[in-house]
Assembly symmetry: C2
Amino acid sequence: MPKIFIKEQHKEVAYSPGENLLEILVANDIFVDNPCNGKGLCGKCKVKVLGENPTFISETEKKLLKKNEVDSGVRLSCLVIPREDIAIEIMQKETNHQVLTTGYVPTFDFQPAVHKMVFELKKPTLENQMSFEDSICNVFGAKEMDLRLLQMHRIAEETITGVFHGEDLIGLEAGDTTDFIYGVAIDIGTTTLVTALIDMKTGAEIATASMINPQKKFGLDVLTRITYEIDNPENSKEQLQHEIVKAINEMIGEMCHQCNIDRKNIYEVSIAANCTMMHFLLGVDATSIGTAPYSPVFVRAKMILAKEIGLEVAAGAKVYCLPAVSAYIGADVVAGAYVGQLQNVQENVLFIDIGTNGEMILSNHGELLSCSCAAGPALEGMNISAGTRAAEGAIEDVKITESGIELKVIGNQEPIGVCGSGILAAVKELIRTGLVRKNGAFIKKEMLDTSDYRYDMIQLDGKKREFVLKSSSEPLIITQEDVRQVQLAKGAILSGFYVLLQQANMRINQLDKVLIAGQFGAHLSADNLVGTGILPEEVSDKLVYLGNTSKTGAYMALMSVAVKKQIEELACRMEYIELGASEGYEKIFAQCLIFPG
Amino acid sequence: MPKIFIKEQHKEVAYSPGENLLEILVANDIFVDNPCNGKGLCGKCKVKVLGENPTFISETEKKLLKKNEVDSGVRLSCLVIPREDIAIEIMQKETNHQVLTTGYVPTFDFQPAVHKMVFELKKPTLENQMSFEDSICNVFGAKEMDLRLLQMHRIAEETITGVFHGEDLIGLEAGDTTDFIYGVAIDIGTTTLVTALIDMKTGAEIATASMINPQKKFGLDVLTRITYEIDNPENSKEQLQHEIVKAINEMIGEMCHQCNIDRKNIYEVSIAANCTMMHFLLGVDATSIGTAPYSPVFVRAKMILAKEIGLEVAAGAKVYCLPAVSAYIGADVVAGAYVGQLQNVQENVLFIDIGTNGEMILSNHGELLSCSCAAGPALEGMNISAGTRAAEGAIEDVKITESGIELKVIGNQEPIGVCGSGILAAVKELIRTGLVRKNGAFIKKEMLDTSDYRYDMIQLDGKKREFVLKSSSEPLIITQEDVRQVQLAKGAILSGFYVLLQQANMRINQLDKVLIAGQFGAHLSADNLVGTGILPEEVSDKLVYLGNTSKTGAYMALMSVAVKKQIEELACRMEYIELGASEGYEKIFAQCLIFPG
């Protein structure tokens, strides 16, 4: 079989000719960014083919790649079908990603479902041959023992600790172990997984771990992964579940190792995730989420055995999955709404979680309306020509001044691209400085005086105007198309905002607070949100940033039975509005596309 | 690797030298009877080594085998350690076994836990994106859907049938399938497995299947299998469970095939078994049953998912395991007591299930006392020199007349051995004709006149007297040791009988009825039971035969929620008396050894 040599990883993989290069690399767990999942659309799956270039160059590649890239051997791996030995260089590096694991936590009483009781067990005698189960049930007042406990335990000790989940006996440990109860709170994002190991005796977060969602190899966004599921009906559900479960098991292992804790002492795992990720996690068909009428298989909270999905914790451990409202208002958003205290507020509060989808919940004196806007991945740095995720080397802020362009780069490195907050800052600056007009178009270069400090910032690529973010041998450019992507995101989010207000018969000045949730939202400053018109000027002093509310909600549910109940009630109270089906939506959307200024 | 050729099966198996022949054969699923599980004690695992005999003959073999057997190449396979290619002949044939699948069934109301409801499902719309789970829960009034149902089902049809177990939704089927509900009732005996496929709409038994318990390869009786479990701690629990589950799956397949029914339509399996078999079935450690104080891991009834133990039926199907009382009063006996209506009787009734253990329950005006006597396997034809199981060729009845010995043989074949009912009949006849004295010893041949019709029936083997059941080139003999085995069984059972009466302060003539349960008990006639003194003369006209009450009890539990509850209450009401620990037991036992006459 021919081989592919991956230079900088010192790896080689053998392959059977026929598959494209991207498929071969992904199958061998070699990461290549491919937002469109190998459809030849996004132009992100670049690799450099080394040596004499043996591969045919397609028209699509010529269109999506720059000429100097083509000349230096860069190809789109999804369009290369190798036939012989080749050597390549992977162009994206998997860099340390910036993930926020902290955030606002409201005060609440700890009353976890998991608790322990210690007891002395009487030994059976010839006169009283009481079974092990009966002895245990008698001392603990339990109704019966789970089969798994009967299968596992041969406890000869007389001192024994029973682990309970509510009234159910879920574990037995020899000796007195009442001091050791652990749980895990998890936020499964489409992009990022965040886990926290919790000492359930004290409620303290004693370790955290995070990683990029390994399902990325099946596509970067929810819809691409659903498409993968549809295209591979024989085993995709198992694959998608396996990837996420494996990753969680690894992170739990890492945290337990840090704290020198046995994973068998973890008795509950509490999980928030969007609706699709929750379906994938539980091995449930998510395809109906991908097409109208977007009816998911389930939205209710679930309490299952960790073993049922393959999580490696205590044998009797439970997994609590927070409830969702609809296909696009997932448990992550419900968790956020709970952390934002929407179940209690009597004020008018808008909760917003900005990501690929912008989810919003409006509390109108306690009445809850929700919607989800297809913002697209632009605000996360995707679908942007120089876009990159928020990792080292990403431009996260931009200032245009008379003396030039100031860039703030994560890790203070040489910039390699622009992430979500960076593109938003850049567009805001383009609007502020008048380089981009209200309709989203770049101004004509000839309208500027050559002495204008902005003159050199605009250049022409053929007939297309573009903004030079950084000029060098490898320039970073913001194209007209990039601005359009941000504009579409803005239109989607702002129109959702107005539809909710309209439905609630509320004026903007009646809003008391706007809560910004999500680890991504935390990087979007009020200046940039208002400056690009994603949110209207009137709310600029009402913004409150909550951080990763999804993980916080999972943590609170883990630590309290009452919180679980309240979160479930909250999910039931939220009404969901499908924007596309709401009256006059197209008109509102068109108006919302207009930039401020 | 050297090979073993099995002549009549036209099979050959390769092996690594080191293991004994029995181990090699068992590992290759070739049946060799080995009651002592390869300990070189029982002398039953005979094989004939063909050709020049290449194997060393041990002293044990010389003792346990007859000279003409040794000369013709017969060896005990557990004592042969082959080193090269050999050809053998298996001496026992696996013959059709005689299993009783019918018996007395008291009338009762059908109210199975499993039931179905048909409904029309509304399709989701863009305005009402209700999840699949919510739609289902709404129409069926269910609280939530099991994860397995969410994982499995993608029902596009609008007509849908919900399968319920009590209030739990356990299955969904497309269309209206309310006419098809099936269940299975099972009796797991140490020796025999009996299954029945039940149409739960009508309560009719529509198919049956039975087979020898495949765990026999780990020993013929409970204690030998427990010893196997102890000796092989790494995987014996899994092996023992696997064998029984595989066998049940095969029988279910066979019954479904007979009736042209899909096994996925079976929603409940109800199982009675002795305590050890139930532990093995559920993959629970049974070793504590093997040693004092005989405390099992569990005795309570269990309702688990069929999937948890690997039964191949509907994905959401449940398994109900009937409750036991103690290590040696298992769910099979509780089932029998229920079928014998011990929960209701106001009379004085003795229930007795005769097998390797004789289990007895005495109802003293509704108060229930139970005990278990170690009768040994003699009454099942084991531990008897010419013993065989109740299969074709087994002598099942014996009459001694002045004109000779009349034998009744199963299948009307040439006799190959004597089964339980046969050995009992033979001993009864030996007592009746005075050939065996009250103390169990054969009379001296010299006490008989040479003209006596009994003269030729007694012969001497060295100094030992023995009874010639059939004289021919391959004679069938009943030895003094065989009579002793029956005597021990008699002593064990009768002493249990008296201890129960004593505990209840009851005289024999106060007994109203004696119920004989079990497929084996059904073959033991009142004449033989009383004639050998296993039961006293006074009860001979009070015997009632119930047949396989274990399976019947499982069937009744399957068909009624109320029966399940009553059986569980019955088990709780039974007091268990450990004979060995009861006062003056040795003396009673010694008295009970005396034969009548």
